[in-house]
Symmetry: C2
Subunit: 243 residues, 2 copies
Amino acid sequence: VNLILLDSSEIDSDGSASLSDARAVHLRTVLRVKNGDTVRVGVLGGPLGSATVVGVNADGVAVWCQLEQATPPIAAVDLLLALPRPKVMRRLWPQLSALGVHQIILTNAERVERNYFDTHWLAPDVYRPLLIEGLQQARDTHLPHVSVHRRLRKLVEDNLEALSPSTRRLVAHPQSLTRVGDALPDQSRRVLLAVGPEGGWNAFELQLLERHGFTAVAAGHRTLRSDTACVALMTLVHDALRR
Amino acid sequence: VNLILLDSSEIDSDGSASLSDARAVHLRTVLRVKNGDTVRVGVLGGPLGSATVVGVNADGVAVWCQLEQATPPIAAVDLLLALPRPKVMRRLWPQLSALGVHQIILTNAERVERNYFDTHWLAPDVYRPLLIEGLQQARDTHLPHVSVHRRLRKLVEDNLEALSPSTRRLVAHPQSLTRVGDALPDQSRRVLLAVGPEGGWNAFELQLLERHGFTAVAAGHRTLRSDTACVALMTLVHDALRR
């Protein structure tokens, strides 16, 4: 943990806050803070800053926050992801928020098994702590927006422009010969990256996406597991936007 | 699994082979092969090809191999990795071989805990199946070479040039402003990428590496978990070599 995240409702108007959950345990047992120590903090959706420890006991840790640093920029990437199997989705949550994503749009596809949608890893109470874990790793404060869609076609035709307006659209397709960087000549524009299921998008899905403005790109000719592929593609998009 | 890997000793001179381990179980229960079906195969360290199923029963699967395709190229990247904690190392093995690495050189560093070296994930019998899992995912046949070194300084001063000769050397350092692609102008040269422990290389280690020809690069300004960082950096190196 490189940052302790607080909700703005937890901080009093004078900057004081009392932590009593896993964050307090981390401060006490991993960082072993004592009165007068300072730790990096951030407010969800807000600025970064530092907190001075003003009290430590078995019930929790009291801190006094000075939120004098800027709010981090909003990530320039949205992700449209065909729902992977539950174990992979669990692994992806913290990695996605650490890499930096504004919006995670989960969708069905032919090669997504229907029962994947029943997993508890799609419950907000379950994935929220995992997203926060990634934010705390990467020192970000913006919790990604998450939405789950059961029908790809309806999503692409009716909802996508409102969800991810004016983004440059890329679809990962292992057979493409276009490198991610070559498909992103304009670094000022936000990106919507579509990543398919383990077996890939089918021909209809790929056509649907291309008809709606998605350019096919590849992270190389090797077939990767979907979590590795997702990290690889997000990395290439962020790198291209940083040139 | 996108490829079934065999050892050359398993294949008779007429191309026939009998599988009775996890590969046979995969063929029978996941791919549900029957006589006459063909599956993609490869020989460890050798060519790719196809195999025709000629017998299926509870004991195993008999196949007839035609290894008529080329041997895949050797990966152009070597990895020098400060040993991560056991759980992370376990996760990395299949991802590294899937991404493509010729050599995995594991080392100590100040911020590596000594007991990490005691993990069973460093036993060849334990990591070999994980490396093969990644090769079968990515359709590669070259098992990465693995070596474990307890002293970083001795490794860098005495052994590295023999282990990874004439490679362009990069060291991941979050504070660097150099993008991986900008540090690799010459795509014809192999790369040795050094990735530090969770808390980073210390100042002495970084100096030691820079004195021995390593250029500091970063995958961005965000601090990533070491497995995510490793996948991100390997991706950027491969991408730069593919321009």
